[in-house]
Symmetry: C2
Subunit: 344 residues, 2 copies
């Protein structure tokens, strides 16, 4: 069956990947479109957000959230249109931000939903710059990174959904900002469109040498969302008192074994000690209660003033979500990755 | 020549050790006792503090302080008696806290000295519980560790100068405190004399299993001053939101090469991320300007009330400092290690 008003296509976790997800990881299924009971809504997914954290959810290694069960619908944040409503607060045509997952339709009792403005120019932004990824950039940089004017801030995955916003906020705070991205196109975008001071292509030779040359005074804040060779290049450049918000480690998400030795854990802790470095992991869900309103208000100001720009990488069709997600983990996206399932 | 009023015996750094310091690392020299010029004092060293950080100073690896030059007098904090004074603020017989290093006599212009109370019962405490090591325990635990009542706090080197104070302050803050120490004697002392809830002997088999059993609810604060196998046992037990002040890494100070693989750096950063752990190095010198007065006032209150106890390991004679220092790095001391050079 193909997409229709009578078919709730959905993508389930079919097998847990060993390493990178592949064709056997997910499966596309047909299903009945459910009917809302009293107090419920039927939601039609318009946009589905794809994000690196989902790699953790399809693994059964211990993490901060329970894994998706085999056979269950993949989780994910969504912008949906209310298709039918038996809930007093919602009417058909309303746009809502929710967590329907990888499927065409979902029921909701309204819990965890937030209504989007009817005239919102680009509703998918609620999944990115105005949503989880923008909020992640904002809190990680400001709350943990604590950038000061004049600081050198280095941002990995600089053209991505989080990194692109981290760097632009750091520029607004008066920092010198150096991005790291994969490929000349992304690097040009980061400097020319987003206004970073420099961007280093991590695919070229001698990443450590080129990064050092771009950071002649060392690094005050490193926003970590990659790990691996990028972190190796950053560590020797961190200054006394540096801050390292740990937001993600996408270079490691598909690892099937620990890298070969020597064990450099002691090198890292020694650097933390002698340079009084703060390294702190964070999960954005911890911040919603206290700081989400402040973030949305501030980000809307920056967006309206043209001080923050964002780029989306839009993939059409639920059926392409698995391939798009696999590409995301390999850095093949260019900007915030979203899947468009329907017109708004 | 032996110790006399006319011989300034001093210990110099003779060679940089590869691994543990040995008999060739330090050399004892004779020298003339200097005469104070106008504005100067002649100090007679009474107590010399020996501390693990000194291992860093005899290495030329980059660190937070410049290394001791070959042939130069070893550095170290001291309690001294003013022997002769041409300085208006000091009189012979005054006791002062300073940084004369490993020698019988030193000149000073008064800079960096602080006078100790004439009736101070145990002047060596100015090098320990009321000095750098006590202050290190206080700031690292309270400023970075931020213990809350009911938290489980784990302290390595629990019978040592810093660890013993960390644990007692944590008890005063209402925490459950588990020490880790080397040997049954030290463990008994930590529990019976210092009042920790438990103490694990790291020399026995299955440290991870015994530590886990002693921390059934996990670990909220780990005060890191050891590294190595102790940290390996702690890491899996750290809870969401745990804090790890990194004060020292004595297990690694004599390392001559990185440990064999696999490289577990990524495991550590993944734990920081998924458990939102804050790991932060600190150097106590950063805190003196702002917080030292507060610390001394508070610690004196605790000491007078008998709420904090401390144990010193006193070695007699400057000539024994090298061996005592080598033993300190191997955990052979029992309490704050000081060398007594003279009567007060």
């Amino acid at each position: 069956m193909t997409q229709s008003k009578h078919n709730n296509r959905h993508i389930v976790l079919h097998s847990r990947p060993h390493g990178a997800p592949d064709a056997s990881t997910f499966a596309l299924r047909d299903g009945a479109v459910p009917a809302p009971a009293a107090g419920q809504l039927l939601l039609r997914t318009v946009y589905l957000s794809l994000d690196p954290y989902m790699r953790g959810r399809i693994s059964d290694a211990p993490s901060y959230a329970a894994p998706v069960e085999l056979g269950a619908v993949m989780v994910g944040a969504t912008v949906s249109r209310v298709e039918a409503s038996r809930h007093p607060d919602y009417a058909p045509g309303d746009l809502v931000l929710g967590y329907s997952g990888w499927q065409d339709y979902a029921l909701s009792d309204g819990e965890g939903l937030s209504k989007l403005a009817a005239d919102m120019a680009q509703p998918s932004a609620a999944l990115g710059v105005l949503g989880m990824t923008g909020f992640t950039a904002y809190m990680g940089l400001l709350d943990i990174g604590q950038p000061q004017a004049g600081d050198t801030v280095v941002v990995a995955a600089a053209s991505g959904a989080v990194g692109s916003i981290v760097g632009q906020i750091a520029k607004l705070k008066g920092c010198r900002v150096v991005g790291i991205a994969g490929g000349a196109d992304k690097c040009s975008h980061v400097v020319d469109e987003l206004g970073f001071d420099a961007c280093i292509d991590h695919r070229g030779a001698d990443l450590p040498g080129r990064l050092a040359a771009a950071c002649p005074d060392g690094i005050d804040v490193y926003f970590e969302n990659v790990g691996g060779a990028v972190f190796d290049a950053v560590l020797p450049l961190l200054k006394v008192g540096a801050r390292v918000p740990v937001c993600g480690l996408v270079a490691h998400y598909n690892d099937t074994a620990l890298p070969a030795g020597p064990d450099r854990t002691g090198l890292l802790t020694r650097a933390l000690l002698t340079k009084r470095i703060k390294m702190q992991g964070f999960i954005i869900f911890d911040y919603y209660d206290q700081r989400y309103g402040e973030f949305v208000a501030q980000m809307n100001i920056w967006l309206k003033a043209g001080q923050i720009r964002f780029r989306e990488d839009v993939v059409d069709g639920l059926e392409h979500a698995p391939q798009a997600f696999t590409g995301l983990l390999a850095g093949k996206n260019f900007g915030k990755l979203v899947v468009r399932l329907a017109d708004r």
